[in-house]
């Protein structure tokens, strides 16, 4: 089914004849943008303060961490996998990093970020190893590690909590400070999105992710080192979740063992809403980032529109269903018209 959706993403120089595919992909990003603008406009009509500088900054700050995780998840979903453990990895990294900073207050921020990345990469390596070497389906493996990693956080934290007063000033400032009006957290997320976008569209290892997701057998026959690529994808996803944990600690100042619980749902929703096919092989990190932004806008708009906060999770679920339904619909239409056009091929 996903064979049709060969990615021709984000590379402006591609002058291929598949204008239809381009149109579909552009339509997806355009649809997301339209939904975003409509959502913001509708909310701003109710309360103009929704588009104030402070409010926009809040939304972007809220989206920054989800975007980071969505980028990692995109890479994994592209290979036909899934990583449900990202929320737990974020919690583990947030707690361990905060605990480390509590003991070593002199640690510079980049070192803390490296620590979080390393913790996350370790967790990702466990996922990747179980999935690749143990031949356990990604869903089962990461559903299991979701609980294992969370259990480890509870072991480490043991019900205690690290408060803002326990963490060094410089680290907390990193969570709130900004350069030219743009918070550091957003800059970190944007840099990651761009790097991952370039990696996926320009580098062989990145293109291999699409190939693996489009057709694992064909990719292996073409000589793609499937095992190494899968490990890369899961390590990358884990590492970004780990980095997300550091940002989480810096932004909120307090960390307890439940940090990031249930976040995997939002991240999967962002990725799926952002047009990454759940069957792999199609989608971009830019779409996923837009999806994450849309979800954050919706959750920030709910109180303004005086809708009960309890609706939020239901909306996330409805968005997942709507997005995969739309993908299916578009996929069927595209494959039907491709069959009509390229019937001479086979």
């Amino acid at each position: 089914m996903t064979l049709v959706a060969r990615p021709t993403d984000s590379a402006p120089t591609t002058r291929t004849g598949s204008t239809l595919l381009d149109a579909v992909l552009r339509f997806r990003a355009l649809g997301l943008l339209i939904a975003l603008v409509a959502m913001v406009a509708a909310t701003a009509a109710v309360n103009s303060r929704f588009v104030s500088q402070q409010s926009i900054r809040d939304i972007l700050l809220g989206a920054a961490i989800t975007i980071l995780l969505a980028v990692g998840m995109t890479v994994v979903v592209l290979t036909r996998g899934i990583d449900l453990s990202v929320g737990s990895v974020l919690g583990l990294s947030a707690y361990v990093t905060a605990d480390f900073l509590q003991v070593n207050p002199g640690t510079p921020v980049p070192v803390a970020m490296l620590l979080g990345l390393a913790i996350g990469a370790g967790c990702g390596l466990v996922n990747g190893a179980v999935i690749h070497f143990g031949k356990v389906p990604a869903l089962v493996a990461t559903l299991g590690t979701l609980y294992v990693f969370r259990g480890i956080v509870y072991f480490v934290a043991g019900g205690s909590r690290i408060n803002a007063s326990d963490m060094p000033r410089g680290f907390l400032d990193f969570g709130t400070d900004r350069v030219l009006g743009i918070p550091y957290l957003i800059i970190v997320s944007l840099v990651v999105v761009v790097l991952a976008g370039v990696f996926l569209s320009r580098y062989r290892a990145g293109r291999d992710m699409y190939a693996l997701g489009s057709s694992p057998e064909a990719a292996k026959l073409a000589g793609i080192p499937a095992g190494r690529r899968l490990l890369t994808a899961y390590v990358l996803c884990g590492a970004l979740a780990g980095l997300g944990g550091v940002l989480h600690a810096a932004r909120f100042g307090t960390v307890d063992a439940s940090a990031g619980s249930g976040m995997e749902l939002n991240v999967v929703a962002a990725v799926v809403v952002g047009g990454v096919a759940i069957f792999g092989g199609s989608g971009t990190v830019f779409g996923a980032a837009l999806g994450a932004l849309l979800l954050t806008v919706i959750s920030n708009a709910l109180p303004v529109l005086s809708v009960d906060q309890f609706w939020q999770q239901a909306i996330v679920g409805a968005l997942i269903l709507g997005a995969i339904g739309l993908d299916r619909f578009v996929g069927l239409r595209v494959s039907a018209s491709l069959r009509r056009k390229d019937s001479h091929v086979d």
């Binding site: 559903l143 299991g144 259990g151 694992p216 499937a226 309890f310 239901a314 409805a318």
Partner: protein, 347 residues
């Protein structure tokens, strides 16, 4: 190497059926033996584990997992999955609280809850069969959606004023014995599912669907309809569990049974059901459920923290899929080596 391809979402079936089936029988048996051994050891070493009082509690703890595991087994055997069961329990529990607050009698509410569950299951079924969407993605979506709707209905409040007759019966014992009231209905339902899976054409259709959906539909099996009704069944059973859960804890809350889907899937896989579909027996699953819940019960009695429980459940989930794969890999290597040894003298 053909048997060693990495498992994909789609069924990945090795050529050698004999090897696989002999392994599965072994796994079933192994789980039953391990379960029996575990219960004996726990009864001897863990204080209070072997008492009839604890056995009663154990059965009450076990009931929701067991009930949800029955339709989950059939669904996983067809090669699909339903991650929304625990959220369906939560939503029916919330609905029960709302209906009770509105003055409906419990005799009306309880069947209504089962119907609501069935409708929620039918929604999953329509997405999976009529629209042809991957069940994993659909039920992750409804996992969020149903839990979200449960919170929309009840918020973070609880309804706790259910009549004593009902809540008392749910946790009560049969007459003067120490057999819980729920045990007999539970066993009847389990027997029903086992009979359907192992002794009826429907059961054969379910296994055939999971083994090879294309071949099954060529053989005249209405693959879509089979899956759809399994999701409806799964939802209805989850509605029943919602009623049980509410009455057992005498509290209707939106977060009831949150996260229970992990335990259910873990128990089913532990019982030897293949996540790729086409393989699995209900006796094995029953053993898996008993093993998992009695292990949790024993750890709790032995004062092991709840954190350890989550780690144990999560690890068991992974190990239950990992172990058969490792066994198969080792067997394949051994048989290949044996074959090579047999070859050498002739060549």
């Amino acid at each position: 190497m053909s048997t060693e391809t990495a498992p994909d979402r789609v069924a990945d079936r090795p050529q050698s059926g004999r090897l696989r089936s002999s392994r599965m029988v072994g796994w079933d048996g192994a789980v039953v033996v391990v379960t029996a051994l575990f219960i004996v050891i726990a009864a001897l070493t863990v204080e209070h584990f072997g008492t009839s009082r604890n056995a009663g509690f154990l059965i009450l703890d076990l009931a929701p997992v067991l009930l949800l595991a029955l339709p989950m087994t059939l669904i996983i055997v067809t090669g699909e999955i339903d991650l929304s069961v625990a959220s369906t329990v939560g939503l029916t529990s919330s609905a029960m609280g709302v209906m009770w607050n509105n003055g409906l009698p419990l005799e009306t509410i309880m069947p209504l809850c089962v119907v609501i569950g069935a409708v929620l299951g039918a929604v999953n079924g329509i997405f999976v069969t009529a629209l042809g969407l991957p069940s994993l993605a659909v039920t992750i979506g409804t996992l969020a959606l149903y839990r979200g709707l449960a919170f929309v209905l009840l918020g973070d409040t609880a309804v706790a004023d259910f009549p004593r007759d009902f809540t008392g019966w749910t946790i009560g014992d049969l007459g003067a014995s120490s057999i819980p009231n729920v045990l007999i209905p539970m066993l009847v339902i389990a027997g029903l599912f086992a009979a359907v899976l192992h002794a009826t054409p429907t059961g054969r259709a379910i296994v055939a669907t999971g083994a090879n959906a294309t071949a099954a539909s060529f053989a005249g099996i209405p693959v879509g309809r089979v899956k759809f009704w399994l999701y409806v069944t799964s939802g209805a059973v989850a509605g029943l569990v919602g009623v049980f859960w509410t009455l057992r804890y005498s509290s209707a809350r939106a977060d009831n049974a949150a996260g229970l889907e992990l335990t259910v899937v873990a128990a089913v896989l532990l019982g030897g059901v293949s996540i790729f579909g086409g393989k699995g027996t209900l006796p094995g699953v029953l053993a898996g459920v008993v093993l998992l819940t009695s292990l949790q019960n024993a750890l709790r009695l032995a004062d092991v923290s709840t954190e350890a429980l989550t780690v144990v459940t999560g690890s068991l989930l992974i190990v239950s899929v990992l172990a058969p794969n490792v066994v198969t890999a080792v067997r394949t290597t051994l048989s290949r080596r044996r074959a090579r040894l047999r070859m050498t003298p002739t060549s």
